[in-house]
Symmetry: C2
Subunit: 215 residues, 2 copies
């Protein structure tokens, strides 16, 4: 890519891609190195073309932008991903960030905002547009209130926390300095209160409800 910042466009709508390309190409130091109409193409093109920044639409056929972002950012020397969407009230913000996106941008952004956003993420900085912040923080409220998770006793909470770290009953017993039979009782109570069938479902509920957070 020699000089400047190489950008890969990933959007299923031709009109959008054309508009973006015109804006980017008319900007000194920026150039479009490739275009993809779906997530799968975006991933393979990004690997061969090695752009600096990928403008990734959230909603695309076959593989959506979130999955594509996840696939891209796990690799070494991965490009920065700037997620673009039309939706203002967008639940994907949170998921996109978890998937490894460097920023979030609305399609209604002005040309100069777009250019600035590309330069910012290419420089390694992070970026969120105000509307994205609102939905991001709002996403926290979307943590499903798992019924019964508030009815856990302190000991049951301890056990669930350790379960959610992947410990076996024996390991939890050692950690809490009690017998394995005791742990089994607590685990059984936790499962009953959370309506979980097995410990895996309990751990899922713990994450979904925000009882534990990805560290």
């Amino acid at each position: 890519m020699s000089e400047g910042i190489g950008v890969l466009l990933a959007d299923d709508e031709d009109l959008i891609r054309t508009g973006l390309r015109i804006i980017i190409e008319s900007e000194p130091g920026l150039s479009v190195v490739g275009e993809a109409a779906d997530g799968a193409a975006a991933v393979s093109l990004a690997r061969s073309l090695r752009p600096d920044v990928v403008l990734m639409d959230v909603r695309m056929p076959a593989v959506d932008g979130i999955q594509a972002t996840r696939a891209l950012t796990v690799a070494e020397g991965a490009p920065k991903v700037l997620v673009v969407t039309t939706l203002e009230n967008d639940d994907y913000v949170y998921e996109a960030l978890r998937a490894g996106a460097s920023g979030f941008l609305l399609k209604r952004a002005r040309a100069d905002e777009l250019v600035q956003a590309i330069r910012v993420v290419a420089a390694g900085e992070s970026l969120l547009f105000p509307a994205a912040i609102r939905s991001l923080v709002a996403a926290r409220g979307a943590a499903r209130a798992v019924p019964g998770i508030g009815r856990l006793t302190t000991r049951e909470g301890d056990v669930l926390r350790l379960m959610a770290r992947g410990l076996s009953n024996a390991e939890i017993a050692a950690e809490l300095v009690v017998g394995t039979e005791t742990v089994k009782t607590h685990v059984g109570n936790v499962l009953a209160k959370l309506g979980a069938r097995d410990r895996t479902q309990a751990v899922v509920a713990a994450y979904e409800s925000g009882f534990v957070s990805p560290r």
Copy 2:
């Protein structure tokens, strides 16, 4: 609390509380309805005093601000929590939002920024200061790159995703329209590649690495 916006201060340092109180009390429409020196006191005071906004320090004795925030925001008609910290490079941002905080603020913020932040969150809006955005987005990079999670085949990825939703092998088999023996093979491969001992650890790794996100 009759009129205006009632604020509860939760910070273990007297100097900080005093400074905050002076700023808030001198502002028309804002008043300090109570003060707490630790998380436990903050939770109980918030329940009795029912402030509109809680200024919550992250680091406090006994119960830290994150836990206190979690305890507060699960209730109905909970106050808005504005998390305050001295640390600019703060990993707690992400966790605080998951815990239900409405915003994040640095202690070095100017008085007028503080007042504005309180009014914003009291009005039901969300707020993140620029420095907090950076560490928030950076937190996504902190998703531990689980070694081997990128080596999963597409089918193994499918299986892991369903595991992370709490499905049993039989249910996964039904979902993917294959035999349970097939699912067992995939599960075994996933465990081996992720270095997990059982499915629970695999699910934990899936969440920790951002392979799946709390929906």
